[in-house]
């Protein structure tokens, strides 16, 4: 598959602070690629460099075969951007917002009209198209931002936390729409800290922390590599821990729970119940969240 974004040792410094330190990744045409990480991991900064709105401090970056440092205008013409914060023009209506945005891309008027009508239908905002943005709900604004990002018929859609703050209905609608856009052949790049979102949407993803990439792969690969498909979860009481130590079993401490990865949950359950006495335990499939917490720790991020 053709590469549409390639970053090698990408760096971003703000004065003495290195926000992104030597990040390497590549995104293939038509795939959905995710950046996961806690706040301050460097996801948004990386995305801003890809979007050509923040110049890189070092390393190599190529978007659609062009260099953001010299071809920003040409690259931006082919990107659709959904920013973290809704920045629609609050005094204008949904329709007017899209028309205004189409002008920034120099889309011809008749093409724009036809496309805007189609996009408003796509995000299910036809009925509300003449309502001033200030009077719309968060989910409606988000859908309009998505429609706005499509007025230039972009090859790559870049989304920074596309569903943060939305209710489940609105979130599922956006997910369906994004999957539809990917099916049309568009490349999707997104940041999120919702594991469910990443598992559902991303073909491949990287987990970032402290400005670097910790791991890269498909959601299933990451789970396999890092923990394993199944885990046993038990209370982290001293009796259990000493029992696990005694039997030389590998485990991870996650807050008040202890996670024991295993490929054979039935057998492991039997072993533990037999060896460690009457303890409370449950088996479940491993999730991306387990991977995420294992790699980035549980300490709160400001």
């Amino acid at each position: 598959m053709r590469e549409v974004i390639r970053a090698e040792n990408l760096e971003k410094r703000f004065g003495d602070f290195a926000a992104v330190k030597g990040v390497t990744f590549s995104v293939a045409e038509g795939e959905a690629f995710g950046f996961l990480g806690p706040n301050g991991a460097g996801k948004t900064t990386t995305m801003r460099m890809v979007q050509c709105v923040s110049p890189r401090s070092g390393g190599h970056l190529e978007v659609l075969g062009m260099d953001p440092a010299t071809d920003a205008r040409e690259i931006k013409a082919l990107l659709g951007v959904v920013p973290q914060e809704d920045n629609l023009d609050p005094e204008l209506t949904g329709y007017e917002n899209l028309r205004t945005y189409a002008r920034y891309f120099g889309v011809a008027k008749d093409v724009a009209e036809e496309r805007i009508a189609r996009l408003l239908a796509f995000v299910e905002m036809e009925k509300k198209k003449d309502v001033i943005i200030e009077h719309l709900s968060g989910g409606m604004k988000r859908r309009l931002v998505l429609a706005r990002a499509l007025v230039n018929d972009p090859r790559i859609l870049v989304l920074d936390e596309p569903t943060t703050g939305l209710d489940p209905q609105a979130r599922h609608l956006i997910w369906d729409q994004l999957q539809g856009l990917q099916a049309e052949g568009r490349t999707i790049v997104l940041t999120t800290h919702y594991m469910e979102e990443a598992e559902r949407l991303c073909d491949r993803l990287v987990i970032m922390d402290h400005g670097g990439v910790l791991i890269e792969g498909s959601p299933a690969d990451l789970i396999d590599q890092t923990i394993g498909r199944q885990v046993l979860e038990a209370e982290a009481v001293p009796a259990v821990l000493s029992c696990l130590d005694r039997h030389g079993l590998r485990y991870d401490l996650v807050g008040r729970s202890v996670l024991v990865p295993t490929d054979d949950p039935a057998q492991m359950t039997g072993t533990l119940l037999h060896e460690c006495g009457s303890i409370k335990l449950a088996t479940r499939p491993t999730t991306l969240e387990d991977v995420f917490l294992k790699l980035t720790g549980r300490r709160l991020r400001e």
Binding site: V53, P83, N87, T100, Y101, R103, F105
Partner: protein
Amino acid sequence: MKRQLSSLAWAVWQRNLDVFSKTWQVNLIPPAIEPVLYLLALGFGVGAFITDIEGVPYIRFIAPALFAVSVMNASFFECTYGSYVRMYYQKTFDAIVATPVTIEEVIAGEILWGATRSLISAGIILPVLVLFGVVDLPGSLLLVPFAFAAGLLFASIGMCFTAVIPNIESINYPAFLFITPMFLFSGTFFPLDLLPPPLQAAALAVLPLAHVVNVARALTLSTGWGFLLLGLLWIGIAAPILFFFALRLMKRRLIV
């Protein structure tokens, strides 16, 4: 280096015009009333104690100054309060630079819009002044295109402040320490030559409004052509310098 400034700046200008058109009643009526109040209070009130200045009735003396002040306020405050709100609170600039429009074009569009606000103000005030019979015709019709040029100057100045202030309250500094003194000491309500010569020279050197007043006054009174030439020269040099300076400062603030 590729071209950072193109006609896409007008798409930014158009966006501001669209928003302005939605609330034109609020935007047009108050600016029309203010100069009428000044004209009545100063022209007829204060003017009653003054026979004439430099051979013209006081109301005719201050009419071009009121014009100049409203042209200044329209563009200066559009590119300070207006631009700051769009930049910081509404994130409008962020939304626009995600498209092929460059930051230079965003700022150029904002300044062109600021100048357009001055043009609109001129279009409102001039008929009022004509109605009061205090300006010469047809020379005063040139005030309309001149308002756009003066607007570019004050919009660029406003944008330079917007690029460096840390928060919206800080607009008080230029508003009270720059605009207000200029409002009083630019030959607006009394002739500049009443000031001691060094202050007079200083006013002409650093107060943009002084030149705008001089040009406007020459047009409305059909006299003082020397000052008109000096003023046009001063504005013609200062406006482009400040325009590009504003672009540079804003780029430094926003592209990180």
